[in-house]
């Protein structure tokens, strides 16, 4: 179903045609396409494609930002389905590391938690470290998920991991994001309670296995 619409969708997304994108997503929701499918095969695939087009200088950063903004808006259409799931009493805090402004991937991760019955609290882009620690203290989550979209944020990622570990040594952490395609797994390996999650499929598996 998604394959049929994908080309139209990505063309509309790159042309900034928000109305067309909205109508495609609405149609897919009406056709009862699974939310996971929508996230992985439409939103994620198209955003990866947009990223590649930018990196290969085929589109400008302005177009990349526009496509991101449209995709974020489209997530709102899916929320009524996401938050309707029965909750299992577990919660995760999902956040971008400080100075990391690409939030859409992290937000999708938070939504996947919701879809699987967890409370997925999303803190947004560029969350200052002390704020993050404060919310962890307040919400007492079962898991912290940290997103890194750009490899340049690796240093901040490590600083964040150290700070969280120092205050909440027992807290399980997962890390992921496109930034790790360029390296950084060796840094994660230094922290035993940190798991690297490279895809939504793997994330769902991890959630279901508790």
């Amino acid at each position: 179903m998604i394959e049929k619409h994908y080309d139209d969708y990505i063309s509309a997304l790159l042309a900034g045609n928000r109305a067309k994108c909205t109508s495609i997503v609405k149609e897919l929701i009406e056709q009862k396409v699974a939310v996971q499918d929508l996230y992985v095969n439409l939103f994620q695939t198209s955003m990866y494609e947009v990223g590649k087009l930018w990196e290969s200088n085929q589109i400008s950063v302005a177009v990349e930002h526009m496509a991101t903004a449209i995709t974020e808006g489209l997530l709102n259409l899916v929320y009524p389905l996401i938050f309707a799931a029965d909750h299992v009493g577990k919660s995760a805090i999902v956040s971008c590391v400080p100075k990391e402004y690409h939030q859409i991937g992290a937000k999708m991760v938070a939504d996947i938690f919701e879809l699987n019955g967890w409370d997925g609290y999303f803190l947004g882009a560029n969350t200052p470290e002390n704020e993050m620690l404060q919310i962890i203290e307040e919400k007492k989550p079962d898991l912290l998920a940290l997103s890194m979209s750009l490899y340049f944020s690796l240093r901040t990622m490590e600083q964040t991991l150290q700070a969280v570990q120092a205050t909440f040594p027992q807290l399980d952490i997962i890390a992921g994001g496109q930034g790790f395609l360029w390296g950084g797994l060796d840094v994660l390996a230094k922290y035993p309670q940190v798991n690297y999650v490279d895809s939504i499929v793997k994330l769902e598996k991890l959630i279901r296995n508790g």
């Binding site: 302005a62 903004a69 974020e72 929320y79 938050f83 939030q103 937000k107 919701e114 999303f122 882009a125």
Partner: protein, 661 residues
């Protein structure tokens, strides 16, 4: 680099500037006329540049302080911030440099990229933030809905499971009290009474909680049945009269003899009535009266329960229907309240598509009103009945509403017929065979009412009506009612300044209701002695005025109320007099705020209350306004409300007289 190289470089730069660069480049003469532009400027301004837009000052946005070209050139190297009209519709700010070149002026403008970048970042951040907030909001909404569901479930379970043991306590204590009344000491009996009363109160509270949890879970399952409301209420009053008599309180019941059917869940509406009545009894002192009334108001049946209790403080009225509302007003015999009764009542009434509200005055009492919609089929029947109604013909109408009438028609047979019919009502009309003759007669005599044919041989009726309106102030000209066989609309008649429109063949009933309806609005030109003398009216001016005022009201309706209960009529009048000015003020506010939905709602409300009291001209004015809104032919809101106030003033005076009598 040699000459050739320099030349080539400037060519390259010029070509780039002309074709590719994101920089505005214009060449203008000393008057600002555009001589040449680059591609970017064309893209920004659009194809009209150089064809329709030919001067620099037509492209720049002028906020009233645009400097002259001379001034701009003075300091050409310093960037000048100016706004540029673009084809996209949004103006853009460019930083311009002005250079003199031979006799021409070169204008170069560029945007501040840093500024644009800051704007883009802010927009992206705002968008992300808004999306995050939307996510939080949606999550909270779902959480709240789930929590509310859980609360209702819990409430229902708790209340249900507690109900049985408490019922047992209540029943056994009741049993013990009746069985041991003669055997136990008064103190012991008192203890038992307390157990019984407390368990009874707990049972009431649990029942209310169960009701609330059911209603809030969307389970207000109404079993609707067509019901004759007058006798239904009568039955509901039986039990309440017993309760009231224990406190020496009287319950009276006022109603129309017959009302259209309503579709209600009888158990639930009985619960509403029982609650309102038990509240009224609870807060009333002995030797007072609780009055229940039911009457028709527009498309609704309106029920009211009025007590003579202490009234509700104004600041508590707005929260009266909230769950667990507590009032500072104390019951007169220490009766307890669960604080849920009115919440349930409100939800039941709303579930029936009705409305509920309260009118309370400290020290005077409280009246609860609620409405129930009349069955659509009954409304239709009623409309058919009204349109084909056979009124009682009043052969002495001319005595009650004395009028000088002129009948204008070119058909002698039609004149004869209309005169014959008017004669049956006691009138002796004069006649005119064409418009010219009619206008001459109107000029010479003081007619109160003119029945005017539309298709006249000389001047048509519409033109004649317009002429009368232009040449006479409204209060000095006769009222004009068209009698026509054409398909002219009522709106066209009103627009021409007529007061009514009748269709041929005209029935006697139509003539009579027209005279009753608009005859009351007629003001005689009695402000000069001559005019007084010329009026051949048998009554004194005071009597005449009184008749005029009273004809604002349908005497049948008033007499009907009088025959049922004069006291009730007085109360209806009081209510009308009290509420209508408030309503008119609300109407003014709604008009000011251009809230057309509220205007329509208020006009309908006013139409309903006026109809109830038989204030036909007022009701008719409201109907007219509603119809005009539907057809889009409305007069100005200002004129509407002004006339409305005039009509209300006349109606109020007439009602005062009836009240005094």
């Amino acid at each position: 680099m040699g000459d050739m190289g320099t030349l080539q470089l400037s060519d390259i730069i010029y070509q780039h500037l002309y074709q590719e660069a994101c920089l505005i480049f214009l060449c203008v003469d000393q008057k600002g006329e555009i001589l040449d532009v680059n591609q970017y400027a064309r893209d920004m301004v659009g194809p009209d540049l150089m064809t329709k837009i030919t001067n620099l000052y037509d492209v720049l946005i002028d906020f009233g302080n645009l400097p002259s070209l001379e001034e701009l050139l003075k300091d050409g190297r310093k960037p000048r911030m100016l706004n540029f009209n673009t084809v996209g519709g949004l103006p853009q700010t460019f930083y311009f440099h002005f250079y003199e070149h031979d006799s021409d002026i070169l204008v170069l403008g560029q945007q501040d990229n840093e500024e644009t970048e800051i704007l883009r970042k802010h927009l992206l951040d705002s968008n992300s933030e808004a999306n995050n907030l939307s996510r939080e909001l949606q999550k909270s909404n779902v959480q709240l809905a789930k929590l509310n569901e859980l609360k209702n479930h819990f409430l229902g379970m708790a209340a249900h499971d507690l109900r049985n043991p408490i019922s047992i306590i209540q029943q056994y204590s009741e049993f013990l009290l009746s069985e041991t009344e003669s055997k136990l000491a008064p103190e012991q009996l008192d203890l038992l009474s307390k157990i019984r009363n407390s368990s009874h109160f707990m049972l009431t509270l649990l029942n209310d909680l169960l009701d609330i949890s059911k209603i809030e879970s969307g389970k207000l399952d109404l079993e609707l049945h067509k019901t004759e409301i007058v006798s239904f209420i009568e039955k509901c009053l039986v039990g309440n009269r017993v309760l009231a008599s224990k406190k020496k309180i009287r319950i009276t019941y006022h109603h129309y003899e017959k009302l259209p059917l309503v579709r209600i869940d009888r158990t639930k509406i009985e619960q509403v009535l029982n609650n309102l009545l038990s509240n009224a009894i609870k807060y009333s002192l002995p030797q007072t009266t609780v009055q229940v009334s039911v009457f028709q108001s527009g498309d609704y049946v309106m029920v009211s329960v009025k007590d003579q209790g202490p009234g509700i403080p104004e600041n508590e009225v707005s929260t009266l229907f909230d769950a667990f509302h507590t009032s500072s007003v104390k019951s007169t015999a220490g009766e307890k309240s669960t604080g849920l009764g009115l919440t349930i009542v409100q939800k039941i009434v709303i579930g029936h598509q009705g409305k509920i509200w309260v009118d309370s005055h400290l020290g005077k009492g409280t009246t609860f009103f609620f409405t129930l919609p009349i069955l659509e089929e009954d409304l239709q029947k009623e409309k058919v009945y009204k349109s084909g109604a056979t009124l009682d013909i009043k052969s002495n109408l001319a005595e009650t509403i004395p009028l000088n009438i002129l009948v204008v028609d070119d058909e002698p047979d039609q004149v004869a017929l209309t005169s014959l019919l008017l004669g049956q009502l006691g009138y002796s009309p004069q006649s005119a065979g064409n418009a010219q003759q009619a206008l001459e007669k109107i000029n010479q005599h003081d007619y109160d009412l003119v029945f005017l044919d539309i298709q006249l041989p000389d001047i048509d009726g519409i033109t004649a009506a317009r002429h009368l309106n232009q040449h006479y102030p409204k209060h000095r000209r006769p009222r004009i009612v068209s009698i026509t066989g054409t398909n002219i609309s009522q709106d066209q008649c009103v627009q021409a300044g007529m007061d009514g429109c009748l269709r041929k063949p005209v029935a006697l009933e139509d003539l009579q209701s027209t005279i009753i309806e608009i005859g009351g609005g007629i003001r005689k030109p009695s402000d000069t002695p001559e005019a007084m003398a010329s009026e051949n009216v048998p009554s004194s001016p005071n009597e005449n005025q009184s008749l005029e005022k009273q004809s604002c009201l349908d005497q049948n309706t008033i007499n009907g109320f009088k025959s049922i209960d004069p006291e009730f009529l007085n109360e209806l009048i009081d209510m009308f007099m009290e509420q209508t000015p408030v309503l008119i003020q609300e109407l003014r506010n709604a008009i000011e705020y251009k809230d057309s939905e509220q205007v329509l709602h208020l006009v309908k409300q006013l139409q309903g209350s006026s109809s109830t009291l038989g204030a036909k001209p007022l009701a008719q004015w409201c109907v007219q306004h509603i119809e005009n809104q539907n057809t889009g032919n409305s007069i100005s809101e200002h004129d509407f409300i002004n006339q409305l106030e005039v009509l209300f003033g006349q109606t109020a005076e007439a009602l005062e007289q009836i009240r005094d009598k």
